[in-house]
Amino acid sequence: MADIFDAMMAATMMSGGAAGDSYTKAEADAKFAQKQDALNFAQLAAVNSGITSVDVAQITTNKNNISNQQDAIADGGNGYAIINSIRLYVNPPGIPPTGDIPDGSYGLF
């Protein structure tokens, strides 16, 4: 009996059926998106339920380390950063960077 009922209901919805139970394509898409968002949120909540404040701190630390690593692409710790293939040296006031420095490098000192 249930199979027959479901088949009848499906046929009614496909043919336009009674008001309140039928949707245009746009309405159906919107409802689908809402359900998808709800599902995503539920999944995210489930994942985040396992993350502690310690984990969040570690993520921040990792981010900073990666950033510092990018700035520390240097030869022997000479203290220059490479930005768009240009070396930028930063030294104490009045003390110019020395060593084998390619032409076109910039300096702040």
Binding site: P93, I95, P96, S105, G107, L108
Partner: protein, 296 residues
């Protein structure tokens, strides 16, 4: 926009933004700091003139240019020009002993002690410098550098050198110097010099008979290029020469050390401008910034 740093001692902000390359710094305030990364630099100069006080017909004041008198009191070329060779030495050939005498003294020199010296080649017994002061003859030593010290007795005193003592020998003399005092000083050419100090090591540029000047109307300058090209545009009275006079002087090597170098010009009248060319850090006057959607 520019990168600047604060100098607490002077309560000022100074440029601190540099680019590394071979370039020329133009300096108008001395002493100056240059940031070289090379072992040497080349230097160029622009003359200057200062007239202290107000001249009048009764008390004229000569304008002073950039340059110091050297210690050599003898304008060698004016006395020995007939013997001058293309290499700058002086040569004489004679089959028997002969003396070339000069009388360079004025009444102001009477009673003062001088030292006269020159290089002689080849060395020979009687080839030497000699002084004759009021009839008293003083022989210098016969050596590669012959030296004699004497006190001037009259304006007719002579100093001379003997040559040609052994047949047709050609004698070459060079580095001829007359200086005040009883000690022979290190040779330097007659005329003017510009002492350049880099990290307190002084190197002289010898510029000939005149200092480097700026015209009194401020429109023209004597210039000395880094390659030794000396262009004189200003006369001794401060007027502009109708045609510039171009000569060549020997430029010394200026030694720098990697890092900050203090550059100074040790003349009474500082030059209008110094140009220093070297591989190192050069100031960048401005950087670009993004302003309302465009880089300015």
């Amino acid at each position: 926009m520019n990168f600047k740093r604060y100098v607490e001692a002077s309560d000022t902000w100074v440029d601190s933004h540099y680019i590394k390359k071979t370039d020329t710094d133009t300096i108008t305030t001395l002493p100056a700091i240059i940031y070289s990364l090379a072992q040497t630099a080349t230097i160029g100069l622009k003359g200057n003139t200062v007239q202290s006080g107000t001249p009048s017909p009764d008390s004229p004041i000569m304008p002073q240019g950039t340059g110091e008198r050297t210690g050599n009191l003898l304008d060698v070329d004016s006395w020995y020009r007939d013997y001058k060779q293309p290499d700058g030495t002086y040569q004489a050939t004679r089959s028997q002993l002969y003396a070339i005498k000069i009388k360079p003294f004025t009444s102001d020199d009477i009673g003062k002690t001088f030292t006269f010296a020159m290089n002689i080649a080849p060395v020979s017994g009687n080839v030497r410098v000699i002084a004759n002061n009021g009839g008293t003859v003083t022989n210098g030593n016969s050596a590669a550098r012959s030296v004699v010290t004497f006190t001037v007795a009259s304006v007719d005193d002579t100093i001379y050198f003997n040559y040609g003592s052994s047949g047709d020998t050609t004698t070459t003399i060079s580095n001829i110097m007359l200086n005040f005092g009883s000690t022979a000083k290190t040779y330097e050419p007659y005329g003017y010099k510009i002492p350049i100090s880099i990290n307190n090591v002084v190197t002289d540029i010898y510029i000939g008979d005149n200092p480097l000047r700026k015209s009194l109307d401020g429109t023209a300058y004597d210039t000395l290029a880094a390659d030794g090209t000396l262009t004189r545009r200003v006369d001794s009275d401060g007027s502009v020469l109708p045609t510039p006079i171009v000569t060549q002087v020997t430029m010394p090597t200026f030694t720098t050390t990697p890092g900050a170098n203090t550059l100074d010009v040790l003349t009474t009248v500082p030059p209008s401008e110094v140009t220093a060319t070297f591989n190192g850090w050069h100031p960048v006057s401005s950087a670009h910034e993004r302003d309302n959607g465009a880089w300015t």
